[in-house]
């Protein structure tokens, strides 16, 4: 699927109405596409407002009490069942030993039922948690496969005889940084190899910009660098680098911006 096709799925995904296969593919795409992620977050905010279409109604007061009680026992889960207080005057009212034994047996039975019930609730919670983790790992796997495919494409591009190169130099903000943009006009693929960039601060990411002569900058992918200050960015590269006179990299909020707001770290000379 292409970026545009994924874009068309975003609204349905925000309503949770895609079939499992499309949803999984879209999740993998969202992990790598800041533009779609932003759009998806906005559509999710809109979808959530549909909740106002339901009449607001008050639950019984008991629910609040149950929640506040349960959060206290939650981390400790199944270690203890609530103990039911036995009446003080029980032995006086029921002098008969056998009757007393019957009462104890009954209470023990009740406690047993409560313990089993709690254990069942806990197991069900654990199963739900495991299912959620499995789901998470599957989408992680999907993301990694996607990354691997991207890297294979990048290697093919670097080896292509038709590839052209543009160098980007560090600005005074990042004098040690450099980058090379390799692209193939025929296959319209591009890959950006970056080194020497400082680690992006929390909640920030680098963003690639293509600035056609005389026009507003076009946002590309956002990325962060590894521990060695390196990054490889493929996909979301300009389809027609010939029309981009300058490629630049700025520091932006984590989800990327639609127009550059932060300092420029790397820039190419005008083509």
């Amino acid at each position: 699927m292409e970026h545009r096709e994924y874009q068309e799925l975003l609204a349905s995904h925000a309503l949770d109405a895609l079939d499992a296969r499309d949803a999984q593919a879209l999740r993998a795409h969202l992990a790598t596409c800041a533009e779609c992620r932003n759009e998806f977050d906005e559509l999710s905010d809109a979808a959530a407002l549909l909740a106002h279409e339901a009449e607001p109604l008050a639950p019984s007061d008991d629910v609040r009490r149950r929640i506040m009680r349960d959060i206290r026992s939650l981390p400790r889960s199944a270690d203890e069942a609530p103990i039911m207080p036995l009446s003080q005057g029980l032995s006086a009212a029921w002098p008969n030993v056998w009757r007393l034994a019957a009462v104890f047996a009954f209470v023990a039975l009740l406690l047993g039922i409560i313990v089993l019930w709690r254990r069942d609730t806990v197991s069900r919670r654990q199963i739900a948690e495991l299912a959620r983790q499995l789901d998470q790992q599957q989408s992680q796997l999907q993301v990694e496969r996607h990354n691997l495919a991207q890297q294979a494409e990048a290697v093919a591009l670097l080896n292509s005889p038709d590839a052209k190169r543009i160098s980007l130099a560090g600005t005074p903000t990042a004098q040690l940084a450099r980058a090379t943009f390799v692209y193939d006009e025929k296959s319209r693929n591009g890959v950006l190899l970056i080194e020497g960039l400082p680690d992006a601060p929390a909640n920030k990411a680098y963003e690639v910009w293509f600035i056609p002569k005389g026009l507003a900058p076009i946002p590309g992918r956002t990325f962060t660098v590894n521990a060695n200050g390196r990054a490889l960015v493929s996909h979301g590269m300009p389809v027609a680098p010939g029309s981009s006179s300058v490629i630049a990299i700025t520091l932006e909020p984590k989800n990327g911006s639609t127009a550059p707001t932060g300092p420029i770290y790397l820039a190419s000379p005008a083509l």
Binding site: A11, L15, L43, L49, H52, A54, E55, P56, L57
Partner: protein
């Protein structure tokens, strides 16, 4: 905490919840119980089940408040998403009995519920209902079937006897239009 709970922003409350602050969870509950319970009940049509799901949802908020990322969207969206998914999970677990209730019959079932619960007509509800009325009927119906009955596009197409492609287009156009209509007013809504 110095400020009155009612003045603390949702994001700060969720952050406090992630640090284990019980009073912050209580404040979030007090702030959103009406809307969330209304939503869950609309999905499940059963007060007892809905209260159980509301409880589950807040226990999930307690456990997973750490997962909330304010950069990705509003706290309201996060809470609503948890409540709705929990309710739809329960609906699927209970079998599809509620699915036989067609969207058009909701008005009738709500009248019954009104006598049971305290009905609060909120301004936010009015804004959303008004925006929804501006959508073409079929778009509105598609959005509501997906949202309150948890139907996929394919299930909606089958239910309404419409082509899948048409349902996809209606869903997309409907939500995008709704977003535009609510964009300017969304600050007042949550």
């Amino acid at each position: 905490m110095q400020a009155e709970p009612s003045q603390i922003a949702d994001n700060d409350l969720l952050q406090a919840v992630s640090r284990g602050d019980e009073s912050a969870l209580a404040a979030l509950y007090d702030r959103y119980r009406l809307i969330l319970f209304g939503l869950i009940l609309r999905i499940l049509h059963d007060r007892h089940e809905a209260e159980d799901v509301l409880q589950e949802a807040f226990l999930q908020v307690w456990r997973r408040a750490n997962d909330f990322d304010p950069a990705r969207g509003r706290a309201f969206t996060w809470l609503v998403t948890i409540a709705r998914s929990r309710a739809l999970d329960r609906l699927r677990m209970l079998g599809s009995r509620s699915r036989f209730i067609d969207a058009d019959e909701h008005a009738g079932s709500n009248e019954v519920l009104d006598t049971v619960g305290e009905l609060v007509r909120s301004e936010a509800g009015e804004i959303v209902r008004r925006a929804l009325r501006e959508l073409p009927d079929e778009q509105r119906r598609t959005l509501l079937l997906a949202y309150f009955e948890g139907l996929t596009q394919a299930e909606i197409a089958e239910r309404l006897g419409h082509p899948l492609g048409t349902v996809k287009t209606r869903m997309r156009s409907g939500l995008i239009k709704l977003r535009e209509l609510l964009r300017d007013r969304s600050r007042d809504l949550a």
